[in-house]
């Protein structure tokens, strides 16, 4: 029987270590191997979610809204107003779904992160590998959303194509800090419920997705402007309606990049502290 021949004699030069992004791609591949068995189901829900929301809220509720005049919406139908906002909000939801429990599960339940940490991969590589997978999922879901929304006739400008990377960036502005948060949870996952209930749901409802932020009381508006979701919603909507201007667009993008980058730094640190103790 041939047994694994381990080199017992010759020391070798350092093998198996590569550039930062090559190492991250190795971690990314592990998520891909896992995704191979679940991708079909995920596509169904990626299609179903925009169909349900645009059908019920955009068309159903929208018919009522439109009867009361659309001046507050910028003189477009509610469906056209809502769809690009939902695209950004859906990206946030995808980011939350891919960041919180998958990361917590990898470090706490299955300990697959610890397995990866025993190999040449550094904690930062493991973090970035997961972000690559999150980016892929965000891109998939956003493209599907765009197709569904076009079929609903909810697009006014070809610029809407540029809303896809904006929505992905919006998702990443949530994914990076949430990865950092999830990997740091040592005892249990109780804090996740707090984030869902008091973070994600209010953001989803009050960041300009379903109605303009101008409808909010004046004192609460600045709060909406601080959240990455409002910037994503505002820019996706401007692109979809064809009303975007360069200065505004760059401002939104700069803000989203700043939040994502801050999360990147925090995540790098959080992963190291958790996996290299």
């Amino acid at each position: 029987m041939t047994v694994p021949a381990l080199r017992a004699r010759q020391p070798r030069p350092a093998a198996g270590v590569a550039g930062t992004w090559q190492m991250a791609v190795r971690a990314f591949q592990s998520w891909l191997v896992n995704y191979r068995r679940t991708w079909r189901g995920s596509i169904y829900s990626s299609v179903l979610q925009p169909v349900l929301y645009l059908g019920a809220m955009g068309v159903g509720l929208g018919t009522l809204v439109d009867q009361h005049g659309t001046a507050g919406l910028g003189r477009v139908s509610y469906l056209v107003f809502l769809a690009p906002g939902l695209m950004a909000a859906a990206a946030m939801q995808t980011a939350v779904a891919e960041s919180m429990y998958p990361v917590y599960g990898a470090v706490k339940w299955d300990r697959t992160y610890q397995a990866a940490a025993a190999t040449p991969l550094r904690p930062g590589d493991i973090f970035r590998g997961h972000l690559l997978f999150t980016t892929m999922r965000l891109a998939m879901n956003t493209v599907i959303f765009l197709v569904v929304m076009s079929l609903f006739g909810a697009v006014r400008s070809a610029w809407v194509v540029a809303a896809v990377p904006v929505a992905v960036l919006t998702g990443l502005a949530f994914a990076t800090p949430l990865d950092a948060f999830a990997v740091s949870q040592k005892k249990n996952d109780q804090a996740f419920n707090v984030i869902f209930r008091f973070g994600m749901i209010p953001l989803f409802l009050f960041s300009g997705t379903f109605f303009p932020v101008a409808q909010l009381p004046g004192w609460i508006r600045p709060l909406a402007y601080v959240t990455p979701l409002w910037h994503g919603v505002a820019l996706c909507r401007a692109l979809s309606l064809g009303t975007a201007d360069l200065a505004g667009a760059l401002g939104h993008i700069a803000y989203l990049i700043a939040v994502a980058a801050a999360g990147l730094v925090a995540g790098e640190r959080a992963y190291r502290r958790r996996l290299h103790v």
Partner: protein, 350 residues
């Protein structure tokens, strides 16, 4: 005046350079790792001096010294909480030391962690398999972490699964596999990069006796092939079977070092007479037994151990004292006795 001096200096510099270059060349020849390191002996794979690990106020590893040599099976024997796992994690380059020196394969684990880990195999104490994937997929993912090409992984997977007797389960999901099978898969996984050192942290803890023996058999085969093993255990039989050399660890410190036989010869007697008495006469009997000529007497909660050269002779003198134990057993000394002698506690007491 100036010109000749400058030329002289230039000549001297050239001369120095030749000497330096020659010196570097010689040191490169003498050092197979290709750079000048502090390890004089290339067969010393791991060298620790005063190695320390602290977590806040708690000192888990308290200044230990050891060397791991190429081709040997080196063990850390000690109860739970002795600092064995912390030591293994430092060697595995996933835990930066708090103090002391640690050199692994001639490299520094903090600066060159990734390069060192590329040459190690790790079997962690708790399974870290991806239970949703198949057996083969687990090896694929792990092999990719090392940057191995897929054909290489496929070829090694076939060989390794054969070695750990899991070939028939290659396509099965990991979740329903037994504990012993998961352990064997973890061992196969740790060998995917053909490591120079295999680190095993309590490789058979939590397994039933039969599964333990299968794992031991596989590890023994690796050892016979000359694989360098470093393992922790709180099972003295595991240490005796697998380790060429071991250290007894307790409270973060190394209490003794040697081969299993050396340790037993140094710290214990040839034979042990184990006596068990009725609970109510246990203490009384223990007191009377001091009259028996023994190297050492150890009174445990449920037994009395007499460390003697000849167990049967000692039993005769026990009978001579008109003591009739419920059970008596003469056995050879084990590492358990060494541990008891060194720490005053039993291994499983933790």
């Amino acid at each position: 005046m100036r010109l000749p001096r400058a030329r002289y200096l230039w000549g001297a510099r050239l001369h120095c350079q030749i000497i330096l270059t020659a010196g570097l060349f010689v040191s490169e020849l003498s050092d197979p790792l290709g750079k000048v390191t502090h390890v004089p002996d290339p067969d010393v794979l791991i060298r620790a001096r005063g190695l320390t690990k602290r977590f806040g106020q708690f000192t888990a590893v308290d200044g230990i010294d050891f060397e791991l040599r190429r081709g040997e099976a080196f063990g850390f024997l000690g109860p739970n909480g002795a600092g064995k796992s912390s030591t293994m994690r430092m060697i595995g380059c996933v835990s930066p030391p708090s103090g002391g020196e640690l050199t692994i394969l001639g490299l520094n684990p903090v600066a060159d962690g990734a390069a060192i880990r590329a040459r190690l195999g790790v079997v962690p104490q708790e399974d870290t398999l991806d239970v949703e994937l198949t057996v083969r997929e687990n090896l694929l993912v792990y092999g990719r972490y090392f940057g191995l090409p897929r054909p290489v992984i496929a070829e090694r997977t076939t060989r390794l699964l054969d070695f750990v007797q899991l070939s028939e389960r290659a396509g099965d999901q990991v979740e329903p596999l037994s504990g012993g099978m998961k352990r064997r898969l973890t061992i196969a996984r740790s060998l995917i990069n053909e490591p120079e050192i295999l680190i095993l942290d309590e490789p058979t803890t939590g397994l039933d006796p039969q599964a333990r023996h299968v794992v031991w058999d596989r590890l023994f085969r690796l050892k016979q092939q000359g694989v360098t093993l470093i393992l922790t255990t709180h099972y003295m039989d595991e240490a005796e079977q697998l380790c060429d050399r071991l250290v007894v660890m307790d409270g973060g410190k190394i209490a003794a070092e040697g081969s299993p036989r050396e340790l037993i010869e140094t710290y214990s007697s040839r034979e042990v007479l184990e006596l068990r008495f009725n609970t109510f006469e246990h203490d009384q009997a223990a007191e009377k037994l001091t009259a028996v000529p023994a190297e050492r007497i150890e009174v445990l909660a449920d037994r009395v151990l007499l460390y003697v050269a000849d167990g049967d002779a000692a039993m005769a003198s026990v009978r001579g004292l008109a003591l009739e134990p419920l059970t008596s057993l003469v056995r050879r000394s084990t590492l358990e006795d060494v541990f008891l002698r060194l720490t005053g506690r039993r291994l499983e007491d933790g």
